[in-house]
């Protein structure tokens, strides 16, 4: 068992990743950031009715995996899944529309913020019960293995999720069957409001459990898109070739509360500020400038993305609420809801 902490850092200014991918990593992070901020604005305008869990501050992880994945790979994520779903290329209007409960929503308003899914893009669902989607991701990986397609399933979840039984079952199962599945723990230091350290037997809730499955201990800086990207490429590549699963813990922080109802008062003074210093967008923007990419290029990306978010917002707002006919549709594969003749 290798217990070294992996740090996928490159030497300063080294451009192992390449300008195009880097720009895409930046663009993606900007897109996730802007869209999440818009979601927050829409919530303040009372246009989002249910709950919503933002990834503000955690965008580097979803973005880096999104860029690293093959179009036919599969994402499984949680209720905090707007970013992960967008990062696969799902329609932004579809995402915002779903949050607003509109007909144009990815799920026609039936799933809501916590269940974003776009199967056509490999976004295989957002799951709102802690832990459940880890074995489901293993199952998708099994089907890739069975059919020999070299697809990989990537499963995102939080630090708090490592303490539930399904985590353990999924990890053991995936290793025993050598499945092409990458488990990505986004350690943002908190469950809902409880600090993860106060309820976990080890320091790194995911990485310190890798030993229990004969896996490598991997901790990465989840606010550094390059580091996450390099890790994603390495372990997805290995999994594709039959090397089996990996468990990656990405250290990060959410800038806002757990959900829209949460002002996050439980955080110690100064903690948020320290993490804002390490904001993934800020870091990445500075890095790109340091690598010689000019300000104007970045501004263009930012402006284009803002337009995209505005367009998506307009589309979503213009969309009507779903027709009440939708209620009784799609319980079954025949499109209906009949349980009797």
């Amino acid at each position: 068992m290798n217990t070294t902490v992996k740090r996928k850092k490159a030497a300063a200014n080294e451009d192992d990743i390449g300008r195009d991918v880097r720009l895409e990593l930046y663009r993606m992070q900007v897109e996730l950031r802007y869209c999440e901020k818009r979601a927050y604005d829409l919530f303040l305008q009372n246009l989002i009715k249910g709950t919503s869990h933002l990834s503000l501050g955690q965008e580097a992880i979803a973005a880096a995996f999104g860029v690293a994945m093959r179009p036919d790979d599969w994402t499984f994520c949680t209720y905090r899944g707007h970013a992960h779903t967008l990062a696969r290329g799902a329609s932004m209007a579809g995402v915002l529309g779903e949050l607003m409960g509109r007909e144009c929503g990815l799920l026609g308003g039936k799933g809501g913020s916590m269940h974003l899914t776009d199967v056509t893009k490999g976004a295989m669902g957002s799951y709102a019960i802690i832990g459940a989607h880890l074995p489901v991701a293993a199952g998708a990986a099994w089907s890739a293995q069975y059919r020999g397609t070299e697809q990989v399933a990537v499963c995102f979840f939080g630090d708090g999720t490592t303490n539930i039984g399904a985590f353990h079952e999924a990890l053991n199962f995936s290793v025993v069957w050598k499945l092409p599945v990458i488990f990505v723990c986004e350690n943002n230091l908190y469950m809902e409001y409880t600090p993860i350290g106060s309820v976990t037997a080890v320091e790194h809730p995911a990485a310190d459990r890798a030993c229990a499955y004969g896996l490598e201990k991997i901790v990465v800086d989840g606010n550094d898109a390059d580091e996450v990207y390099r890790t994603a490429v390495e372990y997805m590549g290995r999994a594709r070739k039959g090397g089996g699963p990996a468990l990656i813990e990405a250290m990060t922080y959410r800038h806002s509360g757990h959900s829209r109802a949460d002002p996050a008062k439980y955080r110690p003074e100064g903690e948020l500020d320290r993490w804002l210093e390490r904001d993934p967008l800020k870091i990445y923007r500075e890095r790109l400038l340091g690598l010689g990419i000019v300000e104007a290029t970045l501004k263009d990306i930012e402006n284009e993305t803002l337009c995209k978010v505005d367009d998506a917002t307009a589309t979503a707002k213009a969309s009507p609420p779903p027709s009440l006919d939708a209620i009784a549709k799609n319980v079954w594969a025949d499109g209906g809801a009949a349980w009797r003749n």
């Binding site: 809501g112 709102a128 019960i129 802690i130 469950m191 209620i327």
Partner: protein, 325 residues
Amino acid sequence: MAELTYRDAVAAGIAQEMARDERVVFLGEDIGAAGGVFKTTVGLLEQFGPKRVRDTPISEQAILGAAMGAAMTGLRPIAEIMFSDFLAVCWDLVANEIAKIRYMTNGQVSLPLVIRTANGAGSRFGAQHSQAVENWAMAIPGIKVVAPAFPADVKGLLAAAVRDPDPVLFFEQKSLYALKGEVPDGEHVDHLGEAKVLRQGKDCTIVALALMVHRALDAAAILERDHGISCTVIDVRSLVPLDTQTILSEVVKTGRLVTVEENPRLCGWGAEIASIVADECFWDLDGPIVRITTPHQPLPAADQLEDATIPSVERVVREIREKID
């Protein structure tokens, strides 16, 4: 009498029992320092300290297992399962362990414990955070099942549940947390297994639970005022033990039974009551038994869809008008 919200009545009930009995301890996710995700348990950590009010990891099986083991060995734990939907992740503990151990050991083990959980729709949370699963619980022999509709009942029935020597699954209604109501001052302890007749009519007996009690009352008022149909409304309050006597005697008076259930239709609690009435009151019935339930399907998230899925006041009025008389 003080006016309390349904939400605050939860904390009041727990505090009353913790103050009175050192053996009462309380555990769950985010219940202590944060005061609960629904703010139902604010102040308990401060009042009773971290030894008695304990935040847990996201480990529902461990939470209920811990409550069970503690109850077998002399404590009287209250465990919170944040949303009733999550009972599914620890259903083995509920259905196979907690509910059965007294029977399996021929009475060697007692489990004076309470599982509190937030139940029901109305918050646009979607299919995995909105279910009314009181019927899951009613189907399991060996646990008592309570679901209050009013703040006073929250406090009184919760206290009764804590004092009960058997395990009780206590369903709080998410969408009622903000409801205000009079709650008796001082110690308040109710009785498990008593339904309440909230309104007396002569044409039809409506039996309802939790949120649906309020819809049934509103519907009954409209039916009386606008349509001349006079309804009895019974708040079941406790599914196990079930106060069949109150239900049967009211049905005998009106000759008709309508259940209003938030759970999806199949095997809902109303089916059980319907079957009891169809057996024991058959000759007193003047017409078909009607069940008004959420249709048998998962819940949609969007507000308009959700509202149109669970039984509304309008639907209760309409169905009763169509089917009664």
